[in-house]
């Protein structure tokens, strides 16, 4: 490869949750445009280890853009400059020789830093646990064709269900709100006939669980949807608010 690059990475290093962190500068040479961003970190880590220094900790797993593990803020943007692309699928051909690149973890009170670029996103699992499911214990299901689902509803559910739970929406939001994540899960389930019976309690319980974590409120900025690597549309938030109002009014009436 003739067009190898030399890059300067300024990487957030933090030894533990309660320790102070700082940006530290590293140079990585011979970066091929065909490398993914995470492979550059691999190269850096091999060099650090060879020098006896501790490698940069970062979350990653499938490296195909679907597991949602990777969580890097690159030059101020969650997952970096390429739209609808996770950091693991971001390739170095989008950078130029001599670039200085900042690499930071998700920044949100609800996502405390564990080490370096690794954060704790357990809050997202707890929001799902509050109602992000359909109660259908194993064995209780009716025949699959017993309830037809209109194609547009199925397609809308799928679009919302494409969320990978990475948390980029939270990292992008100036308020660190988890509205897009929460609303996407509610939309996925509430739009399906199977999800209808629990639609009201789902939205009330999940929003309450979201509020109980350290997420901020939504002020309709829309940065979440712009940062979302899976293109979850911002409308799901509007729909969640509508579902919530309806459910709240009904529950007040019924004294729930």
């Amino acid at each position: 490869m003739s067009d190898l690059m030399e890059l300067t990475l300024r990487v957030w290093r933090q030894p533990g949750p309660d320790a102070d962190g700082e940006m530290r500068t590293y140079t990585v040479a011979d970066v091929s445009p065909d490398m993914s961003f995470l492979e550059v970190l691999d190269v850096l880590n091999e060099e650090l280890a060879a020098r006896g220094e501790e490698p940069v900790a970062f979350d990653h797993d499938c490296r195909e853009g679907i597991c949602g593990a990777c969580s890097l803020v690159i030059n101020g943007e969650p997952h970096g400059p390429q739209k609808r692309t996770t950091a693991c699928q971001l390739h170095m051909r989008h950078f130029a020789d001599g670039d200085v690149i900042d690499v930071e973890p998700w920044r949100a009170a609800a996502f405390p830093v564990v080490r370096d670029l690794v954060v704790d996103r357990g809050a997202l699992d707890r929001i799902v646990g509050a109602g992000g499911y359909i109660t259908a214990p194993t064995g209780s299901a009716p025949e699959a064709h017993a309830t037809p689902v209109a194609k547009d509803a199925a397609d809308e559910a799928f679009t919302a269900a494409a969320c990978i739970g990475c948390g980029a929406c939270v990292a992008a939001c100036p308020n660190a709100s988890a509205m897009l994540f929460t609303a996407a899960k509610i939309k996925h389930l509430n739009v399906l006939p199977q999800g209808r019976p629990e639609a009201g309690t789902r939205v009330l319980d999940m929003v309450a669980a979201m509020d109980a974590e350290d997420f901020g409120g939504c002020t309709n900025v829309g940065a979440c949807a712009t940062a979302c690597p899976k293109g979850i549309p911002v409308d799901v938030i509007t729909e969640m608010n509508r579902d919530w109002l309806k459910a709240a009014a009904r529950s007040r009436k019924s004294g729930r």
Partner: protein, 654 residues
Amino acid sequence: MSAYSEYRVGEPIADTRSPGGPMNDRWSQRKFEAQLVNPANRRHHTVIVVGTGLAGASAAATLGEQGYRVESFCYQDSPRRAHSIAAQGGINAAKNYRNDGDSVQRLFHDTVKGGDFRARESNVHRLAEISLQIIDQCVAQGVPFAREYGGLLNTRSFGGTQVSRTFYAAGQTGQQLLLGAYQALERQIAAGQVTMHPRTEMLDLIVTPQDGRARGIVTRDLVTGKVERHLADAVVLCTGGYGNVFYLTTNAKGCNATAIWRAHRHGALLANPCYTQIHPTCIPVSGDHQSKLTLMSESLRNDGRVWVPKATGDERHPGQIPEDERDYYLERVYPAFGNLVPRDIASRAAKNVCDEGRGVGPGGRGVYLDFADAIERLGRKAIEARYGNLFEMYERITGEDPYTRPMRIYPAIHYTMGGLWVDYDLQSTIPGLFVAGEANFSDHGANRLGASALMQGLADGYFVVPVSVNNYLGETRIAPADPADPALAAAADAAEAGVRERVERLLAVDGDRTADSFHRELGQLMWELCGMERTEESLTEALRRIPALREEFWRRLKVPGGPEQLNQSLEKAGRVADFLELAELLVLDALHREESCGGHFRAESQTPEGEALRDDERFSYVAAWEFAGVGEPPVLHREELAFVEEKPTTRSYA
């Protein structure tokens, strides 16, 4: 010949749990005969489930729903990230919604045949039966499968079948099925039935010496480094396959064999490790930095034509290579099937043309998959509608536009059919240790058909494991694990001490090579000598080199950082250490099996057309290996395969 290859042959082994009688009745009969546990007594029992992929999440959720106390473990930060999430194509089920002649019998037949007659019939039949319930269950959970305009479920066709029985959710079926299971699991976590331990890795199994039962696991908290014991009355491993022994694969980076290898070292037999599946259409390696490979769906071969230049070392842009200087080698060698030959044939053919020096792209390990004809014939719009998302993914990774320049593809390791030996109840040779999903060897024989991995994971987790665990606890009337029980405490102390000692040992080597560099070297060795095509010579060479590499690992390994912190280098080192042991067994299994079948191709055993040639006389058995010490020759236990329903024939798709 190395001393390791002088294996001993031990007692034959047999599945004693499958009822006899007509194949159609066996699963019903087993469920009826299985012991039950009174719902009020279930809360006294703890069940450990390791792994949260399709098998693990569905098993943990279901056991929780039944009232057991479940402890669930995963190495990822959330159970939703297990690698089932990346499965693309779909899930098979014999619903026969298309009225195209499908049935449980036909799915059973296709799976036994697709596995090249190396799977156990009763297990496969049960899988086909349960496939019907899986779709019902997933729909009830809100899995957004693709649908027709009438609101009913859509299906598509997949390789190795003549019916349309694959249910799907765009190219993200694994993701949607896993989210369904994950949501059910989160519901049980919120209800307090399941305790979730994310970022926690199992590093050993606790087996009590007096009765040989699995009674717990030892884990390392990946954040704090704390080594801990967890006791239980049954342990279920759902920890996936061992494909990453090859380093560059379509598996996730963290996928590892430590859980099954630790169980194997405690006496659980490991079956058919040489059955590994190679997928022909992956994006090729782009350089030494490559960390993993990405699959491009098999469906692309419906419209793409595979070719390489006729001349070696032809480095022209593909568009400048005239038609008569191209070799459409699949169409030339296999005129009947052309570009749609089975996975193993397509993979080996690609390797052969690259070995001849006609491969394309960096390093010469790639062949073209060209859509120009299809675009001309059907129009760009039609191709976009069929494969748009795949083309986009390809462009993102390679920076090349597949609409105007042919894709480059190359085979890669994708799935492992071998795994821990289990009986019909999915119980290993260690009582109380159950194994589900890709981690066991049970259903796919020597080759797995497309869209069957998801089916098996969910069949095991939702429907088989709960019956088996109930039966085990009911039958043995085992008392709930008591931490104060001296024998159990001693076993747990020993296991915990072993784990701590091993962590210290990895850190103490303090050499000059990283775990990754050893992993890469092991993977390259395995791929070259025990990959798509295996010979006695290559395998013998591998058996010579693996122990040497293992020795070097324990002499030169460098793990920065300490034990009591988040230390990803330490995690990797432990996994690579286990791969260095498992690799040797995989190669030995491949060496001993002097036949070709499914994903195991021995160059010495092929038909004149280059097809896999089985040797049913000598090898119609499951090879279940017993551990005898690191580098010590293992003991082979054979499970003879009886084919009652299906008559083994030469696998032919002509």
